[in-house]
């Protein structure tokens, strides 16, 4: 699975991307997508002093460096009656629906989301940030960088 494959990223990746200043590098050279719901979740990051710093994604969307995709009702219905609706947020559910139906990769560090991908048979579409864009880990504090590696997630 090459890093050039279209890749959805979850809200936390975007938030950390802006907070730790690797988002521009991430969207350069990678086909980065957000699900429509994740787009609405990304509003600000919390700086070290507690201030909420707005995230301006519009310019990235307008220039096409970040693309938005929406799962259809039919695609969402495939997950509607599963336990994932209790475990995952709406944005993650939409991302999973898109991964299953359209073959996107999905960049997330969330244990529940990765386990769901495993259950759904699409674990090969999981793209940890450390593999999608290894240089991003250098921007993160060690404690944060660790969560974005494949070994951080236990599937047992």
């Amino acid at each position: 699975m090459g890093s050039s494959s279209p890749c959805l990223v979850d809200a936390q990746v975007v938030i950390d991307g802006f907070k730790y200043c690797f988002f521009d590098a991430l969207v350069t050279g990678h086909a980065i997508y957000l699900s429509g719901w994740v787009r609405t979740e990304v509003a600000f990051f919390v700086a070290d002093d507690g201030a909420q710093v707005p995230i301006a994604l519009s310019s990235y969307v307008e220039t096409g460096s970040v693309r938005i995709d929406h799962a259809s009702a039919v695609e969402l219905t495939s997950l509607a009656f599963t336990s994932y609706t209790r475990r995952l947020g709406r944005g993650e559910l939409e991302c999973l629906a898109l991964v299953v139906a359209r073959g996107y990769c999905f960049c997330t560090a969330d244990h529940s989301a990765v386990r769901a991908m495993n259950d759904l048979g699409v674990l090969d579409r999981w793209m940890p940030l450390g593999e999608l864009h290894p240089a991003a880990l250098g921007f993160l504090p060690a404690s944060e960088a660790a969560k974005y590696t494949r070994s951080a997630i236990s599937l047992s």
């Binding site: 979740e41 600000f44 209790r86 993650e92 969330d110």
Partner: protein, 92 residues
């Protein structure tokens, strides 16, 4: 019910803010009276820390933004604050 998406969060907040509802809470579950039921918040955080729910789901349950989740976890003392020996599980 809002967490299960049976009613909108706005409706849940309206019900929770109702004086009669709060009076009933005082009688039955005094520790849950206030702007938000702390026990629910603690359970939701615990479910996240035990990898039973995702970060985004926790944000939905607490009606906060994903970016605020780390602050809430720090507020309750992180994983260390959740070590009460009680295990949580959601059915598959």
């Amino acid at each position: 019910m809002a967490a299960q998406r049976l009613i909108p969060w706005e409706k849940a907040k309206q019900i929770y803010g109702d004086a009669e509802f709060q009076e009933r809470l005082v009688k039955d579950r005094g520790e849950e009276v206030g702007p938000e039921p702390r026990r629910f918040m603690l359970l939701a955080v615990k479910a996240f820390l035990m990898h039973q729910i995702s970060r985004a789901r926790l944000a939905e349950l607490l009606d906060i933004n994903v970016a605020q989740v780390d602050g809430v976890i720090r507020e309750v003392g992180g994983a260390g604050g959740m070590r009460d020996g009680i295990k949580l599980s959601l059915s598959r």
